[in-house]
Symmetry: C2
Subunit: 403 residues, 2 copies
Amino acid sequence: MLIVQKFGGTSVKDAERLRNVARIVTDVYKGGNDVVVVVSAQGDTTDDLIAKAAEINEKPSRREMDMLLASGEQISASLLAMCIQKLGIPAISLTGWQAGFLTSSAHTSARIRRVTPDRIKKELDQKKIVIVCGFQGLSRYDDITTLGRGGSDTSAVAIAAAMHADLCQIFTDVEGVYTADPRKVKNAAKLKTISYDEMLELATLGAQVLNNRSVEMAKKYNIELEVLSSLTRAPGTIVKEANKMEKMLVSGVAKDTNVARVSVVGVPDNPGLAFKMFSKLSAKNINVDIILQSIGRDGTKDISFTVAKDNAKEAAAVMEDYASAIGAKSVLVDEKVAKISIVGAGMESHAGVATKMFEALYDAQINIRMIATSEIKISVLIDEKDADAAVSAIHSKFFDKDN
Amino acid sequence: MLIVQKFGGTSVKDAERLRNVARIVTDVYKGGNDVVVVVSAQGDTTDDLIAKAAEINEKPSRREMDMLLASGEQISASLLAMCIQKLGIPAISLTGWQAGFLTSSAHTSARIRRVTPDRIKKELDQKKIVIVCGFQGLSRYDDITTLGRGGSDTSAVAIAAAMHADLCQIFTDVEGVYTADPRKVKNAAKLKTISYDEMLELATLGAQVLNNRSVEMAKKYNIELEVLSSLTRAPGTIVKEANKMEKMLVSGVAKDTNVARVSVVGVPDNPGLAFKMFSKLSAKNINVDIILQSIGRDGTKDISFTVAKDNAKEAAAVMEDYASAIGAKSVLVDEKVAKISIVGAGMESHAGVATKMFEALYDAQINIRMIATSEIKISVLIDEKDADAAVSAIHSKFFDKDN
């Protein structure tokens, strides 16, 4: 078997944790498998480097940021190679460009264009464990690029796809994907399996277990992912195609507090205004999540949308300009909101899931400010202060045995 | 003019020092020059990385050490680029391989095979200041290599040679090359110029101002070097061809305490024994510095040589084995010695320089244990405790005006 294993920054943060990873990796190797390991930078390295840059230049060039940040994985990868060699197993570390990662030139958030794993194959043929620097690649101008936060997951899946790996294991701090945050919700249960689509919704919703791009890529190339802990070695959660498993009604409850609501009130009911509104936001690189438009009244309508908290002020400013230009009444911003979502591939064929969610919130006396639904997801916007209570109430409604 | 400037680890150790370097570099750029900057890793970075590796594997693979250590310059180079950009001047950092450094595969002490500065030229053409990671390159197997300690000096000279630079400035902690260590010897004077050969002897002798390989390369390609301080900006010492300047009788006094003497006493007077003795040492990679053979007596002779203190015990062990095999009498080791040398291109044509040196030592009641001379150098081995006094006495003899 060819197995790709990815270890995040916490899993390789010091010598002790590196030794732990070396044992996991070599055990799999000794089982007769080819092993490619993808690593992130150690612990807080990336944040420390960002702080160093900020001390020097508050707006550093993205090209130079990538040059700087890529050093982090070079350190963790070479240290892990030394650690594995210490156990008597041959190992070699490869930078992103040595491993054949060709990316776009969008520095600090480059997209992988192609992985040419010739060097990886050559080293595997020589019975080495190959350690690849995650998160990084090379542009066609021979410049070092990085894939943005969470990019190491994507690196791992991209290698698994390019090499037709049998399994891609993503080692993290948690033992898998849970029905809710296990630190916050008692009775939160680990899922044995989850579909790509459900995982995508959960990732987007702030479950923070797996990077979204990596799940998209895994879905596209049908790579079976396993999310598991580098400390407990217990079986984790398998992420795979939905038709391979029984559909769960609801697979998880997620909370996202990095959200703000912007409302433009009293927008004249003319065609094209909404399009122009959102094109102004995308021109500023502001991503919009939920969009709701009220039914018209008095020839005007209200358009509300959510953005990341960081973008709230800028989005509001853009809207203020636009609102006065088109004669809208006012712009309201609320940063003290949270988005609570339930995800489940099964809900599309089951009526009453939304009702059950709303009932849980009503029982807990939590006010719903906005609702958005998709085929496998229902999200509500509520006051930020109610977020944890809402997750507990909904989780209890769907997962506690006595319900 | 095309000027190559090299800054060592202390010169770029933190944000403040980086800003200082950025000012030096941009001032030269604003004078209408093309500037290529070569940097070492920041401050103690390299030592810190070596310590990290040692914690994991006491004998790490050299290939992985290079992967690890090369990250250090990647950090300092990108930070310096950001620093220069902050001053409004375009800049770009390049790794060793991006800058076109092809080296041998001797990891941790690779030799530069060729520098292909196409990328550097392209960026200079775009009016950028180009910052190159010193100390590193790429082997023909596409592996990252390092040039060993002091390798950044060599990187700078290699770029200057490949690009036919007009000047190569080596910025250090000191203001130039002195007639003796200015921290130890009062009246030590900064030299305006020194020849390559004198500089080579001084570097070998532990003056530690310039890396020896870089001076050899500068001599070979006739690159004019300037050694100067990144803090004071005062004119430094120019290192160039001897025929371009007046020969100084004695250009400096140097001390090397990293030296030990090994003597093999009573070696039978047969041909080939000395050759075999030193081939056994070179087989163990032990470098021998001074070699002295006594005139034969009773059909035997004594052979003494000096090695670095680190190698003393191993050299003695090798000699013990060899001595008993050939019937030599005994092996003596003395680690408490120091080598004091005077260097000067002028001494070859002046009698009496040696006499004057020995007189200075006699006046200071310092015993000479061994003497070795070359055309431009005289070295004596003395007790380590007398080293500083010997340097002062000799320096005073040659340089004080009242002598």
